[in-house]
Symmetry: C2
Subunit: 200 residues, 2 copies
């Protein structure tokens, strides 16, 4: 069986959201599955001395324009959320707790969180919002709320983020195919070509 | 006659170099010409508080890998220059002086400078190298060398860079089609689709 491809993203990243709409079908066309790996992009930004788009005056307006244009080109719903940037901490903690307890629900949960933020403008930094999304998948609400404050779950997310950075991941989306790294929604055509050809 | 499309780039930008290999044919397919507009990207970086790739530890290694992989995918020559990043000042000054005196030579001269830097690893920050490239197009060597120190030419470049930033240009390559801005070599497919369809 061919290895899964690794799909790193931050829950607050528009381009991660865009890529999330393509990555599974793209992998499936080449007999691959996708390992969804949310992490905290802010930790990588800090190491690179990079500022969020919203804090770069010339870039910000263009970036918002580009996001809306890209969403139209891909024909997927998109609103610029009222809270932007946002913390992905509660959503990430929930994700890894779900992945460990109900693995089949993890990717659908992640898709639902991204849609809540980027299509419905819900505040995914609010643990109650994250818990409600989980409840929609039949997860036990109180257990999920408790997990968000569980030191073991907090530590799990820290380790996932450290491990991502250790592997050289620093953006969202960031895809690794058989050790080959691709940064950005606009590299998915290259990812597809890599899967087709085994590299060039 | 349809308006030219504006192609902004920095002479030291690998992705500007990559785009320079596609932009003319792409425009020509849609009955358009290209207005080549080199400028000093560093001035835009300063405004955005953005650091060069080489100074972002996690990004640098990936970026070099991505440049080489992109060059192979496009099947064009590429070396990572020994001096990187580099100043585009002499090349830009020469470009605008040539544009004003021998306009038909301007784009070919720009292509030759990009090739000297990214395919032959020559030091394009050296005025003598820039003057030699110009001489290859039959330009008078002493006049070109004098132009590189002419206050009017220096001022012309400052005004071009200010005007680019004033229009919202902040990257390389940066293409404007009928007022619509596109940042990045990886937006050229969207540029083509925009030219085809008039927008979406």
């Amino acid at each position: 069986v061919a290895a899964a491809i690794d799909f790193y993203f931050d829950f607050g990243s528009p381009y991660g959201y865009f890529a999330s709409h393509r990555i599974d079908a793209l992998a499936a066309r080449h007999g691959r599955t996708v390992d969804w790996r949310p992490y905290l992009l802010g930790a990588a930004f800090k190491l690179n001395g990079r500022k969020p788009l919203a804090e770069q005056p010339l870039v910000r307006d263009y970036a918002v324009h580009d996001m809306k244009r890209t969403a139209r080109a891909m024909d997927i719903p998109f609103v610029l959320p009222a809270i932007f940037p946002i913390s992905g901490v509660p959503a990430c903690r929930a994700f890894y707790w779900i992945r460990d307890t109900r693995p089949a629900v993890a990717a659908p949960f992640a898709r639902a969180v991204l849609a809540a933020y980027f299509a419905e403008d819900r505040d995914i930094a609010d643990p109650q919002v994250v818990a409600d999304i989980g409840a929609g998948f039949g997860l036990e609400l109180e257990a999920l709320r408790a997990a968000l404050q569980d030191p073991a779950v907090k530590d799990r997310l820290r380790r996932e983020t450290d491990a991502a950075i250790e592997r050289g991941v620093f953006g969202s989306p960031f895809v690794i195919v058989d050790g080959e790294p691709f940064w950005g929604n606009d590299r998915l055509d290259q990812v597809e070509r890599w899967l087709e050809s085994g590299g060039w």
